[in-house]
Amino acid sequence: MRDLLTLPAVWVLAAVAAVFAALSPQFLTAGNLINVLIQSSAVGIVATGMTFVLLTAGIDLSVGSVMFLGAAVCGVLVGGGWPWWAGAVAMLAVGPACGLLHGLAITRLGLTPFVVTLSSLFVIRGLGLWVSRTRAMNLPDDFRQLATERVLGVPVPVWLFGVVLLASQWVVGRTRFGRHVLAVGHDAAAARKAGLDVGGVLVRVYLICGACAALGGLVALAQLSAVSPTFGRDREFDAIAAAVLGGASLFGGRGNVLPGVLVGAVTIQTVYNGLNLIDADPYSYPVITGGVVFLAVLADSLRNRLRGGRP
């Protein structure tokens, strides 16, 4: 919990929440807060995968497109008569497959993660448009239950988010692989000299990121219960922003899942939610969200500089 109070995003979140609580009486209702958490789940799950990649000093710009390709595949299969759960499984398979290709391109071909995932951002979205013929597709009601059903009083998306967070926290903090991720992120050359399988670590990290993107996509898809051609677009920026708000460094070796990603994702969703409640001009959303991210990152950087760490 000491981590929680030293995370600048926590203070930013508190400030944002205070502002919206003052502006809108609905903001601090239990229903709305649960709502924020449900809405945070999709981006939060994607951001968790992104955190793994950021820890290795990499980046994955393609997660929004992976969400879309998975959704398109799912929509086509379910539209063609497959049961809803089979469509969901197919969607979940698309993510790791994309991640594996990223990992191999980065380690075997020696390309930089930025370039690999920037090109696949276009390629994967293009594949999705091709598969779906750019049609919008409605999904059966069964799908929507995934978003609305409650287990022990907690909505399914929140369950999924919680499980992903806890599992990832455990992997980073408690497993051999997690320690290797931190070592590779700090200095890949040193990790190689220390006898680690740097390539293997990187491939797995992109695999995890792809898998999280697909799962996050599934949660978002269930909430909409329709595949539109713009599904998942720009979500990579929400995911990166949430991870960075959560304390992940783009230079690798530093970042955390809990409480980091949880706070980061909730902060971003709180901004969207609050702006919606006070009926703000929709065109102002990106400006305000961007400003909040900037402030949080600035605060983090100042804190590191004061402690004499690297910026």
Binding site: R174, H186, K193, A194, G195, L196
Partner: protein, 499 residues
Amino acid sequence: MTPRVELRDVGKQFAGVWVLRGVTLTVPPGAVLGLVGENGAGKSTLMNVLAGVHRPDAGTIRVDGADYAPRSPAEAAAAGIALVHQELNLFPNLSVGENLFLDRLPTKGAVPLRRVDRPRLRADAEEALAVVGLAVDPGRPVSGLSPGERQLVEVAKGLAAGARVLILDEPTTSLTRPEADRLFALVRQVRAAGKSVVYISHNLPDVLGLCDAVAVLRDGALVAHGPAGEFTEDRLITLMVGRQLDQVYPQRATGPTAEPLLELDRLTRPGAAPVSLTVHRGEVVGVAGLMGAGRTELARAVFGLDPVTAGDVRLGGELLAALTPAARIRKGLAFLTEDRRGDGLLMDAALTDEVSLAALPRHGPWLRPGRLRQAVAAAAIRVNLSQGRLDERTARTLSGGNQQKAVLAKWLLAGPRVLILDEPTRGVDVGARAEIYRTINELVKAGLGVLLISSEVEELLGMRDRILVMAGGAVRAEFRRPEFDREAILRAALAGRAA
């Protein structure tokens, strides 16, 4: 007795240059071998070959009688060879225990829940740390340890991995004397346990006091190898230097004038002693010293790249203190860095663009490509860079010598009055060297002042008017023309280390 390590005719080349030639060397079990040589003699390369970082291009290695050809540091570690790098290879964002066992963290639990066995890691780490006598909590992050403690963690890591051969590359550079003594006691203890140690250091008294045998490398070849008792400090220095002065240093007809150009008045960097020196018009002042003596740092401070806490820098009598590097360039200061590839050259830009870079501020806001090309061509002729059409070639396609000439041409275009050259001939072949030296002579004749930083004593002897020797961040000695003596220079450079 089978030697622990047996190197036979080992050679290594980088970019067609042999940096290691025909090294044949043995290390018996339970012995400490001291490896000495000047900067660039090939000590670190040899050890990197042994530790699987580089693969040899010639020769064979045997460990305990078995063929040994590691393809990675991991394979070398598995064969019982542990290298403690000069710049330590620890991860400050991980704990001491995790660093010790990073490549084989103990785990427990069934497959989906397989996790690091923390109690066992702690117990193993405590045991490994006890071997080196270091009492720190294994759960502490390495970022909180002192340099001496980190060094011991590295040694503990190698020993815990079951190392039969421990290689220490300049282990004492960042240690205090008590920390170094503690390390030596540990090395003796390791030797008593029947393991072999290779100890690389510039600190010759340490080497002679600690090692059973000493090997001397010079220019990538082994020049001496024998029991430590056969060597004295003076003999080692003679062996390390003993090279004939090549005929590559052209005579300079002109001598220095009495007019000071660059003056440093008690210039002080954070944590270093004040440095005062003067470079006159038409003079080459050589700066000798070992790696880490503070020569590059001094040059960076003069150029305004690093902070200065006290003292003045004057160029032609004008105070530079408050100026940015860009403003200093305009005043006539030029700095050729030791790292051509890293920060001296745009490797993939057309040579015309590259060479004209430093001169752009003198050409006004709008470029006139024709005039620029003319200026570049003139500068290229001055440094004897004749590489066809300059606007078609990129620096990456040039040899090291021609790259250095391109950097020199770039700075000449900026119209400097004082040139600071940091290791200008590193990785440059003999022919191109001679041309660089000739260019320096012409510049000096035209009234420039040159501050020449070099690790090669011969180069300084061949080019200098005066030589300053730096050690530990301070100028320790100054040699004027008649009294040049390469052994005295090396002794002065080494003296700072023993202190």
